[in-house]
């Protein structure tokens, strides 16, 4: 936590009240109904942590509890934000490949960690089924894991 350059007594107080919000990163989620839901998390928290800590109500999100064993924390970002999210491991990519509605700017929320540079970012929760009516030929006709 860095103090701002002017650390006069007033500056210090300002810093103290700012630092509690400086410590948080604001994320705007767009849910499946198109609603915008804003939440704040701490740097280092994953987006899944944020969804859980703030009790955000996305159906079925994070089924495997962040262990890279499912694709239910799939989130979609703008190109600009996606570039700032850092590299994707093969392990994440392998599970992301199973996500419905995969895009070039998709990530798994459990693998994306908040940094200050992501302040104000938007993350869209994509539909998890085709037209809410489940079809059998999703992706590659997977069998039970």
């Amino acid at each position: 936590m860095g103090l701002p350059p002017s650390s006069s007594p007033t500056g210090l107080r300002r810093a103290a009240s700012q630092s509690s919000s400086d410590n948080k990163v604001t994320v705007h989620f767009v849910n499946r109904d198109g609603e915008k839901i804003t939440a704040k998390g701490s740097p280092g928290d994953s987006l899944l942590d944020l969804v859980i800590n703030e009790d955000l109500d996305f159906d079925g999100f994070g089924a495997c509890e962040g262990t890279l064993a499912c694709s239910t924390c799939h989130l979609v970002f703008s190109e600009e934000v996606y570039e700032k999210l850092g590299p994707v491991t093969d392990e994440e990519m392998d599970m992301l490949d199973l996500a419905y509605g995969l895009t070039d700017t998709s990530r798994l929320g459990c693998q994306v960690c908040l940094t200050r540079a992501l302040e104000g970012m938007e993350a869209r929760v994509p539909e998890s089924v085709a037209d809410i009516r489940q079809t059998q030929d999703i992706t590659m006709g997977m069998t039970m894991k």
Binding site: G60, A63, C64, D137, M140, T143
Partner: protein, 480 residues
């Protein structure tokens, strides 16, 4: 520490719980305590504040394929159990294990007692190859083999013969890859998992050193996914044994396919065709076990050895592909081939079975005919999970499928087409029937005693749990 206050609090809590559930006017029953059943219940409870959901499960223990299908070395996939446990603990949810719908109570009786009945009992049967020799010793459906190492009571006595060098698996989905991996995994890895001790001991004595995973079509059609394939590529003390010519033309095809299929194919190509880096070359040279994919082969006959009773090989038709991509079809060329092997595992699909003559069933597709989860020509009857769509998909697929059915139930409960305003007895109607028939349901807290006992036994062996293999033993533990 005033223990009396705690007793009072507990009793009050119970009173509140009981009155919450008896106050719930809409009664829904779910048949099957696996992921489909639990996800359906979860969604119903969230969407309707006035619904009581009762889950009936044939075995004493819940969780279906999450317990009996997911591989022991994939414990994170089983994390969904905490969500299911939360659902079971919900004030308006009740679990009844050890109740066999179809024999202990009929679907008709459930429909009389509940406003809606959701069938989520999955797929307990096997698709068969339909070829001569399928009944020889040493031929097992993958579902049974998986059930054996995962402690499914009815597969307890499978005792698969593992005293041969080569195993052939028909099918190239994730179940086939799981079976291959369990057959070839170092014992030191397996012994830290919840694989049953019995199967661990058998695998420790196994002489299987080579596993061929055979599919009807080509590399671009395999149903398995990249995580499972990568686990084979990285499996310690094993080397891949592929036929490079089976991959001709793949590099071209790669250019036009979606990323998931592309990455999977790239991994196969790299493993099958690319000369390995020095370190990998040495690793392969030192490996004592091997695995390979074989394509464009369909089973024609399982061949017996000299004793006439035990498998010694399999005759295969050589295919060619007509069409491309997912829609391509395998067509026999007339050529035939034989593979020597002492173990054949058929991983060509699970299959749902009809459990009650009163329920419509499509024998061709082996599903309950439905539209959006509503069973056709049966108001108040629904289905979710594999019974609804066929045995395809991972847990998340089933989750969405179940939410979808729950959505249909909620729509019908609120639209008035289910006559949800007239009172139904729910479990107070079924309980006396079961009692009269000598059926004693296992509650969720009874399951928690079984759970504790399994974990206790497992801890002694450095395993997360040692599963009870026997229904009688489960019941005995539940009643302590």
């Amino acid at each position: 520490y005033d223990w009396r206050r705690n007793v009072m609090k507990a009793e009050l809590g119970l009173l509140i719980t009981r009155s919450a559930s008896s106050a719930a006017h809409q009664k829904v029953c779910v048949v099957g305590g696996g992921p489909a059943g639990f996800y359906t219940a979860q969604h119903l409870l969230k969407a309707c504040q006035d619904v009581q959901v009762d889950i009936y499960e044939r075995l004493p223990v819940p969780f279906g394929l999450v317990r009996f299908g997911v591989a022991p070395d994939h414990p994170e996939v089983k994390n969904v159990i905490s969500t299911f446990t939360q659902t079971a603990h919900h004030a308006r949810c009740c679990y009844y294990g050890n109740v066999n719908v179809g024999t202990d109570v009929s679907v008709e009786e459930l429909r009389e007692a509940y406003h809606a009945v959701v069938l989520s009992y999955g797929a307990e049967g096997n698709r068969s190859m339909g070829v001569p020799g399928e009944d020889l010793e040493g031929v097992y459906p993958a579902k049974d083999f998986v059930g054996w190492y995962n402690g499914l009571p009815s597969n307890r006595e499978l005792n698969p013969g593992l005293d041969c060098e080569t195993a052939v698996i028909l099918g190239q989905g994730n179940v086939a890859l799981d079976v291959a991996r369990i057959l070839l995994s170092p014992i030191d890895e397996l012994k830290k998992t919840d694989i049953t001790q019995r199967s661990l001991d058998a695998l420790a004595q196994s002489q299987v050193r080579r596993v061929l995973i055979v599919g009807r079509r080509g590399p671009l059609q395999i149903a398995g996914t990249i995580k499972e394939l990568r686990e084979m590529v990285n499996l310690p003390d094993t080397k891949p044994e592929m036929v490079a010519s089976e991959f001709e033309g793949m590099a071209e095809a790669l250019k036009v396919i979606p990323r998931p299929r592309k990455r999977l194919t790239e991994l196969m190509l790299k493993t099958a065709v690319d000369p390995p880096a020095e370190k990998e070359r040495q690793r392969r040279q030192a490996a004592s076990r091997s695995w390979g994919l074989r394509f464009l082969r369909s089973p024609l006959e399982v061949l017996a050895g000299p004793d006439g009773a035990r498998v010694a090989g399999i005759r295969l038709a050589v295919n060619r592909l007509e069409g491309t991509g997912d829609g391509s079809v395998a067509v026999p060329t007339g050529e035939v081939e034989t593979m020597d092997c002492g173990l054949v595992i058929t991983s060509i699909g699970y299959k749902s079975l009809p459990i009650d003559p009163a329920v419509p069933f499509d024998p061709r597709k082996a599903i309950v005919p439905n539209s959006l989860g509503r069973v056709q020509q049966a108001a108040g009857l629904y289905c979710s999970g594999w019974l609804k769509t066929g045995p395809v998909g991972v847990i998340a697929t089933t989750m969405n499928n179940s939410f979808d059915t729950a959505h249909s139930v909620v729509e019908d409960l609120t639209s008035g087409c289910l006559d949800a305003t007239s009172a139904k007895p729910g479990s107070t109607g079924i309980g006396p029937l079961l009692d009269k028939r000598g059926v004693k349901p296992v509650s969720f807290s009874d399951w928690e005693k079984i759970n504790q006992e399994e974990r206790r036994r497992g801890a002694a062996q450095g395993k997360p749990r040692e599963k009870l293999l026997d229904v009688e033993e489960m019941l005995k533990t539940a009643r302590t």
